[in-house]
Structures are given as structure tokens and as C-alpha cells.
Subunit: 344 residues, 2 copies
């Protein structure tokens, strides 16, 4: 920058100002500065600027399972929204482990992110959250809700899950199992509540023996499903608590030579981009991933703009996507697909 100033025959102050357009300068000086920048190949040092200004124009994102297609979409949306607002993303994976989450969150905070987007783990209340609070880092929670006065955005879980279960009840099922996620996560708890509520309203008793502890993971769900299928009176239908577990359940079912939906109906939380190419096509709840990501960023930006506004909690609506794994013979793939023409 000193080079530029020298070459343009002005002070660094002026260079700074023309770069940032932060105060008027004569046409001539502006031109010569710009020219000098060009000639020197000058690249502004964001790090130094951040130090001087006390703001980095970057946001931290701490999330679990970067390879979860659900979160992938969310991350993409966040990256886009952040980019639009001139912010960069710093990324960390919590590994769904409170200790590691704290490490990640701390690393991001020490890199002076202006704000933090966090999909809190079960232990966040004891680790990451107190840290963020003590450090005064503007934070918005994502996907999972926690009982703290912070901005939060996630999807509705209870009602959509109930909807899934009700559909199975309507079709005459009475032994309906559920693969549940990590206990303690609001998403898990709410989905379980939706499941139990629907059973109750349908006049069916809740049977703990029909709950498969899938821990949101593929292989755990698969193992649990095997156990369920070995029951003397196995379930005739199963609802999956998330996409990973859906894979596990399908595996277990296939491994026993059973077929969905003939031998067992299956409905699931989380859509796949190719859920309609599976055999059978999956009936699922689709979460508004893109909206979730962009709303989270909007919330964070608005908090940065106004640190004192009261925290907001937003609940996004999920969508029931009716296909065939529930046992219904829906529209043929061809018809359904034609109904949503390509963008190209």
C-alpha cells in the first residue's frame, strides 16, 4: 500500500480512502491511485483491515456431518447468502461431539468471525454456548432448538412426523416402528413426540419395543432394524427419523430379503434428490433446506446490525411428499416427473 501511495504520489491515507470510497477525492488523484494499484498488482490485506476496523466480514459455521446431504444443501445456501452480503464462511465440523464442538467454535471465534452459525450438539448448553455467551459472539442456532435466548431457526418436526404416522395408521397399520435420532436433540425429541401423539390419537398404544435407537446413523439404524425384524411380532411399518437412518433401514430390510412396501411400509423424514428413483419411491418429509440456510444468515446479519433486538425463533414448514414406499400406488414416475419440468 505504501508502494501504491508512492507510485501515485499521494499519502497512504488517500489510497485507503479511494479504495474504500470513504471520502471524496479529486478525479485526478483517484485515477492515479487506481493506476498505481493496477501497476503494482496490489492486493488489499483483509487481515490488516480487520485488525484496524475490528471486523472481519466473515461468519463461522459449525455444523455436524458436512457429508450429510441435508446439511450440504444448508451449507450451500448459507455460503450463497453470506457471499451475497460480502461475507466469507469459515467452516468447522462439530462431529456431533460437545467437546469437539467447543474446540471448533473457539477456533472460529479466535479467528474473529463477526458472527456464528451453529447447529448445536446435545452438549452445547454445557460447552459451546456458555463460551459464545461469555465471549459475546453474536450467534444464531440452526436446525436444532435449545432453550436459550438466542436467535434460532429450524423446521417444524412434530406435526410432519405425526402426518407420516397418521398416514400409516390410515392404511391400517397397527405395529408402527420408528428409528429415532440422537436423544436430547430437539429434532429427535420433537419427531418422537409427533410419533407418539399420532399413535395416541389413532388409538394405538406406544410400544417402546418398537423404537429403534438409530442415533441418526446409518449403521446403528440398520442394526436396530435387524433386531426389530427378529421380533416375534415384528412391525408392519417403520418411520425413519432422518436420511442416514433411512439408508440403514433399507439395507436391513434388503438384507432380510424383504421388500418395501409389500412386506413393510416405510416413510421417512428427509428427502433425497433421487428419492423417486429408489425402489420403491420414498414417501418422505422434505425440509426447506435452502430457506433454512438463508434465513439463518438473514437472522445473523440482522443481529449484527442491531445487537439489542430481542431474540427471534423461527420455525419453517416442512413438506409431505407422497410417493410409494408407504404402500400407496401413486402416480407413475413418468407422470409425476413431467409435472415438474426441468429448469433448463
Amino acid at each position: 500500500m505504501a508502494d501504491v501511495a508512492r507510485l501515485a504520489g499521494v499519502s497512504v491515507t488517500t489510497v485507503s480512502h479511494v479504495i474504500n470510497g470513504t471520502r471524496p477525492a479529486s478525479q485526478r488523484t483517484r485515477d492515479s491511485v487506481l493506476a498505481a494499484i493496477e501497476r503494482t498488482g496490489y492486493r488489499p490485506n483483509t487481515i490488516a483491515r480487520a485488525l484496524a476496523r475490528g471486523g472481519t466480514q466473515s461468519l463461522g459455521l459449525a455444523i455436524s456431518g458436512l457429508s450429510n446431504p441435508y446439511f450440504t444443501d444448508v451449507v450451500a445456501a448459507i455460503e450463497a447468502a453470506a457471499g451475497r452480503a460480502g461475507h466469507t464462511l469459515l467452516l468447522g465440523d462439530t462431529r456431533e461431539d460437545p467437546e469437539h464442538e467447543l474446540r471448533i467454535v473457539r477456533a472460529l471465534a479466535e479467528r474473529q468471525v463477526d458472527g456464528m452459525l451453529l447447529a448445536p450438539t446435545v452438549g452445547a448448553l454445557e460447552h459451546a454456548l456458555p463460551y459464545l455467551e461469555s465471549q459475546g459472539v453474536p450467534t444464531v442456532l440452526l436446525d436444532r432448538f435449545v432453550d436459550v435466548p438466542l436467535d434460532q431457526v429450524g423446521c417444524d418436526n412434530e406435526q410432519p412426523t405425526a402426518r407420516l404416522v397418521e398416514h400409516l395408521i390410515d392404511k391400517g397399520h397397527t405395529r408402527i416402528a420408528m428409528a429415532i435420532g440422537i436423544p436430547g436433540l430437539s429434532t429427535t425429541d420433537e419427531r418422537v413426540r409427533g410419533y407418539r401423539g399420532a399413535l395416541e390419537r389413532g388409538g394405538l398404544a406406544f410400544d417402546p419395543g418398537l423404537v429403534a435407537e438409530g442415533h441418526s446413523q446409518r449403521d446403528a439404524a440398520r442394526d436396530a432394524m435387524h433386531t426389530l425384524l427378529e421380533l416375534p411380532d415384528p412391525p408392519t411399518a417403520v418411520v425413519s427419523g432422518n436420511n442416514f437412518m433411512t439408508i440403514g433401514l433399507l439395507r436391513a430390510i434388503a438384507e432380510r430379503g424383504l421388500t418395501v412396501p409389500d412386506d413393510l411400509a416405510l416413510v421417512a423424514f428427509d428427502d433425497f434428490e433421487w428419492a423417486d428413483l429408489f425402489a420403491p419411491r420414498l414417501t418422505v418429509i422434505r425440509q426447506p433446506t435452502t430457506e433454512l440456510g438463508s434465513r439463518a444468515v438473514e437472522l445473523l446479519l440482522s443481529r449484527l446490525a442491531d445487537p439489542d433486538r430481542p431474540p427471534r425463533t423461527e420455525r419453517l414448514e416442512a413438506m409431505f411428499v407422497h410417493r410409494n414406499s408407504c404402500g400407496c400406488t401413486g402416480p407413475s414416475p413418468a407422470l409425476q416427473l413431467r409435472a415438474q419440468p426441468s429448469k433448463a
Copy 2:
């Protein structure tokens, strides 16, 4: 930090040194500094440290299609490898557009990343690459190869694609179509070369009419497949150039009421985590995504350690995964799945 020093009754120098363990200090001072840090809730300012040290301990990653499951795995691997080495990731999406790629790369460079990981777009040679070169940013290229003296790591494309095609030829197919990706990308070109080579060796003429320009995209592939299927003499087999296009091809096929592999055989580049749950189970080439990501990071770290070592180009091997969409009746899902027991 001044606070800490005051509270501990030492100089900031000492504080700095005990934090970084960069020079010996007496047990007593060390303890009191640590205690002071604890009491003040002091959080080191990485930004300031970076400015003083001239290094940020962060790496830039510019890649296209963050939501592409293939890249997702790569990103996850990179994040892990970078984290292990104490680096954070700054993330940007090139959108497969050279202009945007330059913007992203510039943003990352201005944030003083220590090095850059880049999956170059077709226009990188005219935009991003010259910029990186002029700014002297240590860079490793990822996934796609470009003819420049930089570290590069990607997969073998030609031979695996040929393998796919040969398999179809072995099964008696003579009208074999291919959905190809973005022209100009080394991955696309190499896969096309593999396709043509295999045809030739199999005594089949290359027919440009059987090439579907899928541009690596789902919907373009779908449209192109429809066109192909309307041919008077349509293909009896198709090879997909990447995962997105596979989805598009399958859609088009389903939309015409055709079945894989009975009406049409399909083999594809890129595996899916649930490719064996599709109907039919997909015969694919699986790329070593995790290895790709970690090798890329290793290359970059080694370049940072030794800026003058000659550039290296590494080619990773891909794997032929034989399932049923090619028309073979492989092992039953149950058998195959049991053969690879869960980690749990």
C-alpha cells in the same frame, strides 16, 4: 492481552511466549499467566497474530457445486485433513464460472490464506490461475488437471471409463451412448477419450449422434437422453459421465416408461452412497474421494513447507463397482451387503 499481563504482573512478551510455548519461562510465571488468562476470559486474536506473523493458518478452498455429493465427500476430507494440521478452511463456490471463480479466489487470497485448493473451471487458465500466479499464492489443483506447473491431484478417468464401455461391449452392445460433462474440463475429455478408445478397440465406430451433451448437469442430461431415445435407432446402453447426469438419465428413462437394464443398460462414473438401493443397483466407477481430499491437503502442506520443490502431479485410481444396471445379475443385495459388515 495487556490485561492478562497486568494481572499476572509480567510483560506482554512473557504472556505471548507462555501462550505459544515459544521460549522457556519459570513455572511460577507460567502458572500466574495461565491463571490470569483464565480469570480474564482472554481469547487470543488470531487476526492480530496473523498480521504479526505473516501467516494465517488457513487454507482456501474454491470448488464448484458444494452440493455435489462427490465434492461433499472431498470437502469433508479436506476439512478433516486441514483441521488435523491446525488449519481452518475458507470456502468458496466457483459456480463453474471463470469470472466468479476469479472473484472467489481473489476474496480468499485477500483474506491471506496460506494456500489455495482449487478445482479449476474451464476458464481458470485465463483468469484465476494467472491471478494466483502473479500473487504468488501456493496452489494445488484438485479433480481437474490443467497444463500448468502446479501441484495437481485427481483421479484416473480414461481407463475406468474404458472399462465401463468394454463391459458393455462384452455384453454385446453395439449402440452405446455417452452423456458427457462440461467440454474442456480434463475430466470430461479424459472420460470421452476412454469411451472412444474402448469403442475403437471393440471394433465399434464412434458415432457423434450417440453423444449426449449433458454439461455435467442433471436436467441437461435428461433432455439429451430424451433426444437420444427418440432416435430411429436408439442406443441400447448408455454411460453416464458423472453423478448428476446419472440422475437425469434415469429420470428420462423412467419418463419414457423404460426400464434399466431390460430396455437399456446404464453404467456410470461416480458412486452414490445408496447406489445399491436404486432400482436397479448401479454399476459405477467409484472415485477415492476421501483420499483425493487428504492428498490435496498433504500436497499443499508440503508445498508450504518447501516452496521450491518441483510441482507434482498425482493420479489416484478409481474402482469398478459391479452391480446390476449393466444387465448383469450380480450377487443379491443381501449377500453383497453382508460381505461388508458395518463398522458399528
